[in-house]
Amino acid sequence: MSGPVEKAGTSSAEMAVAAQGRVLAPKRSKLDRLVGHLRREWQLYVMLLPTIIWLLVFLYKPMYGLQIAFKDYSVFRGIANSPWIGFEHFETLFGNEQFLRALKNTIYISMLSLVFGFPMPILLALMFNEILNQWFKKTAQTIVYLPHFISSVIIAGIVITAFSPSAGIVNTVLGWFGYDSVYFLTKPEWFRPIFVGTSIWQEAGFQSIVYLAAIAGVSPTLYESAVVDGASRWQMMWKITIPSIMPTIIIMLIIRIGNMLEVSFEMIILLYQPATYQTADVVNTFIYRQGIQGGQYDLAGAAGLFNAVVAFVLVMTANTISKRYSRTSLW
């Protein structure tokens, strides 16, 4: 980590001075070198300091606060002075039906999103690639990227309105075919399809950008020789495009699995109701209700710690695998 500090980035004049200094005083101590370095480069540290302080205050200090997961937290005593109680909260959690249900729902909902949500952007990118009319392609892309930029509150508002029992368009259309009006958002069996469908509708278009970029990187000569060989577009898609973007697909899949626990709970908070908790409640919404709304900070903090540790292990594993696979790190 130390190494020669007076290397790149400094002017040649400074480098000459530094080199000279080294010749004249070969036994400069590490401390001396550090002081000299700071004297020359203090401005860099002034630039870095605000970010480091911010990270310490807003992200690293809460990590210290995670100890409430092992404490009987009381607001009056504060985090540091509350008594330690070991793994009691974790024992409570794993005996708590609501938590276990939330855990199960989290896994179930991420699986559904993975199975139905993952192939969609790939399919879209392949289809966009086959469009020859540039105007049509641009217009379609402009429209399908749009929902990504719309807030979850608005998307939820649209969903609530569209699925409303009295006025919603969904029930109106069902009415045409003679079906009775259904209050979808109070039906546990409808929550997951609506939630997963909404996230696909919102994100699939935007996520296709990554694959479009990968397709753009495929060498045109491959297609040219395929055309000479009389290949159809369908064959070229299967034999050239898809194999060429396979590394991207695999990396995206690994990332996706790494982020499994990151179910977008904001949207769930906006869409669920007590009537649908049994299928809709995930770990993060459980933490929100128990902790922020219910004031059981220590128990909710324990659930959060469990979530964070599992997520960390998943992400690190995903990163290691993809590093090995692609020889490039994700970050």
Binding site: S2, Q43, M127, F128, V144, S151
Partner: protein
């Protein structure tokens, strides 16, 4: 590749089918927005009766009059602007110098500092400790809390740092010869060369601020400080729960559906206005960001 005549009949079928499917997907993306816009301009009666399908029925701007005459709407609109502009400027003030310092090879402990940034992307203490920390810092219910509490984001720092690292050292040599210090090099050499990357980061901040809802809901109790998204959520939750209000409006020119549709339209408009920039820079951003450590 571009010559249509080269294609067989099978290819033509394939191309046409593909266009139809894309067109359907595009329309299904567009339709909910058209539906909401039409709803917002229909009478409450028609909206309640489920008669709005594609275009406004019984055209009226009554819902907009209701929304725009509500002081709390304007107040939360103003708050959203404060959080968006203040928050974005705050983020840039941290991120630009921070990313620049992290991109310099001569920085002592560079690996350590970079790891410190990257680690926050992999591990997060979570909702409860973050909330308790904000409370202990006295940042509940404050404009400043919202603006400072979400200023730095590891992904944005790394994105900008990667961009700075890609700028060849030769660009700064002339400035160095003139005796420029680090601040001057950043300001006069790096910033002008990094406009697209900075625009990308700024737009990431703008969108996440404009759309930010969860933490604003959790951290702000005082209605005078809530942003538009929290207000919208309150309106939808309050109105749909309030049966009395709903029935009292049965014959009115507006209903809770048309009112919430009108608020939705009002809060989408600013995003639509900057959408051309968003589209241009965001796709660059995601491709720049998640590439290397």
């Amino acid at each position: 590749m571009t010559n249509m005549n080269l294609y067989s009949r099978g290819d033509k079928m394939f191309v046409i089918l593909n266009m139809v499917l894309i067109a359907l997907f595009t329309l299904s993306t567009l339709y909910p927005f058209i539906y909401i816009a039409s709803l917002s301009m229909s009478t409450g009666f028609e909206a309640r009766a489920g008669n709005v399908i594609l275009t406004p029925v019984g055209f009226t701007l009554e819902a907009y009059k209701q929304v725009l005459s509500e002081p709390q709407f304007w107040n939360s609109y103003k708050n959203t602007f404060i959080y968006t502009i203040g928050g974005t400027l705050m983020s840039l003030a941290f991120i630009i110098p921070g990313a620049y310092a992290l991109s310099r090879p001569q920085l002592y402990g560079r690996r350590f500092w970079n790891l410190m940034v990257a680690f926050t992307m992999w591990f997060h203490a979570g909702m409860i400790p973050f909330f308790l920390n904000m409370r202990d810092l006295g940042l509940l219910d404050s404009y400043f809390g919202i603006i400072i509490g979400f200023a730095v984001n590891g992904f944005n720092i790394i994105l900008l740092r990667n961009f700075f690292e890609g700028i060849p050292q030769s660009f700064e040599e002339a400035a160095r010869m003139d005796g420029a210090n680090e601040f001057q090099v950043l300001w006069k050499v790096y910033l002008p060369l990094s406009k697209p990357a900075i625009a990308t980061v700024a737009l990431f901040c703008v969108v996440s601020r404009w759309n930010g809802f969860f933490w604003a809901m959790v951290l702000l109790q005082d209605d005078s400080k809530i942003p538009l998204q929290v207000y919208l959520r309150k309106v939808i939750a309050d109105l749909s729960d309030d049966e009395e209000f709903a029935t009292s409006l049965l014959n009115a020119a507006y209903s809770f559906e048309t009112v919430s549709a009108a608020i939705i339209v009002c809060s989408i408009i600013p995003i639509l206005l900057i959408y051309p920039f968003l589209q241009k820079y965001f796709s660059k951003g995601i491709l720049l960001g998640g590439v290397k450590e």
